[in-house]
């Protein structure tokens, strides 16, 4: 039998048997991860450059690209399964990067009931899915994409725009009306409470996008066009004067005890960058692990880590992208620094082992599970040591 140690299986793969060498994938890839071999014309994917946006997958005319995340077949199957839960034949496909909570999404489209489908980048959703759900009886598709210059994968939102126009034209000819698919764009940005601002300039220093400036009036002013919603300034504002749409401080604070109450020990609360891990469509299922998805690990703040510990978490993990994979300007590195500083303080009171920072990528599935497993082991080991000492 095959005794070889299994290589980690990448999340995206080009199947050369089906590839027609059209090079659409390489022309659309935002990261130059796909190139054509000059000798044999084969399309070659450099998985280390790939950020798993799924744009090549959704655009490949020959269906020669496989992805383990949100493939057309699995999305259609999932929607088929969950549809009876919803009293609606309207589907809303939204990008996690720009989707506020569902009630607000509904308000954006003027619908009360809808079937929600939340994905990391709508650019991965192919025509096959959009037409497939119409065939399955969905009457109306709404797509919420990021504003074009806010798209974490740069080309996902523009591509979805072109795809929507093209499909609507064809569907119009078939009698579906010109607006079977409606596309809206949104982005989630910093909010400022000027009454709380102490004009310290911390945000000016930390913002990678030069969005904030201190005004002569002694307050802060944000250029919201420049803000990319990473949340670093929010996490570091000494006066709690800043907040982030959809990831408000209070909202996260409310979520922490709720999640922990439902979990079983050892309870590990994971603050996770939503680009570092792509969860399965039906969510993460472990009873020991609670997950709070964040727009970027930069949004993690000491307050929430300590709240988790105060509310009974046995361990807190911050899961980020690596510095090179960070969808923001190297914010994940800053996040590690933030976590290190919290850990230094927790070390002083003997709780430093309860916090852990890990960087992972969705390009190799299972990475996060492995990191969580290691952390859990170290927590249980530490617990056992203490027991022996008694």
């Amino acid at each position: 039998m095959n005794q070889k140690v299994a290589e980690p299986k990448p999340a995206v793969n080009i199947n050369d048997d089906y590839c027609s060498r059209c090079t659409i994938c390489s022309s659309l890839c935002p990261y130059d991860a796909i190139t054509q071999d000059r000798d044999n014309n084969k399309m070659v994917l450099d998985i280390e450059k790939c950020q798993v946006c799924g744009i090549c997958y959704s655009a490949c005319p020959a269906k020669a690209i496989d992805t383990i995340y949100y493939s057309s077949g699995s999305v259609l199957k999932y929607l088929d399964k969950v549809r009876p839960q919803y009293k609606s034949d309207t589907l809303v496909i939204m990008c996690k990067g720009s989707a506020p909570d569902f009630s607000e999404v509904g308000r954006l489209f003027g619908v009360k009931d809808f079937i929600p489908l939340s994905v990391p980048c709508v650019g991965r959703i192919s025509e096959e899915v959009l037409l497939g759900v119409l065939v399955a009886g969905i009457k109306k598709i709404n797509i919420l994409a990021c504003d074009e210059d806010y798209c974490r994968f740069h080309r996902g939102s523009p591509l979805t725009g072109r795809r929507t126009i093209a499909l609507n034209r064809m569907l119009g000819q078939l009698g579906y009306g010109e607006e079977a698919i409606t596309l809206k764009r949104n982005s989630l940005k910093v909010t400022v409470d000027k009454d709380l601002c102490i004009a310290c300039g911390n945000c000016v220093y930390y913002c990678p996008y030069n969005a904030p400036t201190l005004t002569s009036a002694g307050g802060i002013s944000f250029d919201l066009d420049a803000c990319r919603g990473c949340g670093l300034c929010v996490a570091l504002c000494p006066a709690f004067a800043l907040d982030l749409e959809n990831w408000e401080r209070d909202r996260i604070s409310d979520l922490i005890p709720q999640l922990l109450a439902e979990m079983k020990p050892p309870k590990i609360l994971v603050f996770r960058c939503q680009w570092a891990v792509y969860p399965p469509l039906n969510g993460d299922m472990s009873p020991n692990i609670g997950t709070i998805e964040l727009p970027c690990a930069g949004r993690v703040e000491a307050l929430h880590v300590l709240e988790a510990l105060q509310n009974g978490a046995d361990g807190v993990m911050v899961v980020a992208c690596s510095e090179d994979d960070c969808k923001q300007e190297k914010v994940s590195a800053k996040s590690e620094w933030v976590v290190t500083r919290i850990k230094e303080k927790l070390d002083q009171i003997g709780l430093g082992d309860k916090i852990n920072f890990a960087s992972v990528s969705p390009r190799y599935p299972g990475q996060v599970e492995e990191k969580v497993r290691q952390f859990r082991q170290s927590l249980e080991g530490a617990g056992a040591d203490k027991g022996e000492n008694k």
Binding site: I198, C237, P238, L303, Q310, L346, G350
Partner: protein, 213 residues
């Protein structure tokens, strides 16, 4: 700005141990980052966690004062809590706790910070150093904007002493020779003639201990 660091949490716990109801008072003033409401809240959480481990229960309140060295601002910020607290734990530089002590004679106050110096906030470089001794008689105009009182180990007014090697101080090889920096800076500015002026002894009485504006 005033450079401070948080005291070891053990030391803080020890100092607050006689009290149960404690107001943690941040300061939005001169430190960077300001030890404001966030730091106060974080310290509260850390002390609560540490208290739980040691079986000690605290009742913390948190606030932050715009400038804790300002008698009016501090008095008005702390007054609403006075009836309800046994002590104040101050996140300000040394002037903050003393303001509290001055204007609340019956209220114990505990510093949570060690104050180091008035320094440059070199955010990219990370390390900060003493750059102003508040000597009361500033001579930066003569020294190219580099203070020999703080940055020369010997505090010489007419350097260099001759002990430096490779631009580093003979007393501390980590430390740049301030007078070499001053020389270099004056040379760049074309004002080397200033270094030939013998600076008379400083009038340290000007530092004073009290100024009425």
């Amino acid at each position: 700005m005033i450079v401070t660091t948080l005291k070891p949490l053990d030391e803080i716990l020890e100092s607050i141990s006689p009290y149960r109801k404690i107001l943690i008072a941040g300061c939005d003033g001169c430190t960077q980052p300001p030890r404001g409401i966030r730091e106060a809240k974080t310290l509260k959480q850390l002390l609560e966690l540490a208290g739980q481990l040691k079986g000690k229960e605290f009742e913390f309140k948190v606030t932050s004062v715009v400038k804790q060295c300002d008698s009016v601002l501090t008095t008005s910020a702390i007054k609403p809590y006075v009836e309800d607290i046994e002590a104040v734990l101050s996140l300000a530089c040394g002037a903050g706790p003393q303001t509290v002590a001055e204007f609340f004679p019956d209220l114990p106050v505990i510093p949570a910070q060690n104050s180091h110096f008035i320094g440059i906030d070199d955010r990219e470089g990370g390390a900060m150093f003493d750059s102003c001794a508040a000597c009361g008689d500033c001579i930066l105009a003569l020294t190219g904007g580099i203070c020999p009182v703080t940055r020369c180990s010997k505090g010489l007014l007419s350097g260099a002493c001759g002990g430096a090697s490779n631009g580093k101080c003979e007393l501390d090889p980590e430390r740049d020779c301030a007078w070499e920096l001053i020389y270099e800076r004056l040379r760049r500015l074309g004002k080397l003639d200033l270094i030939r002026e013998l600076t008379p002894p400083k009038d340290y009485s000007a530092k004073g201990w009290r100024v009425t504006p």
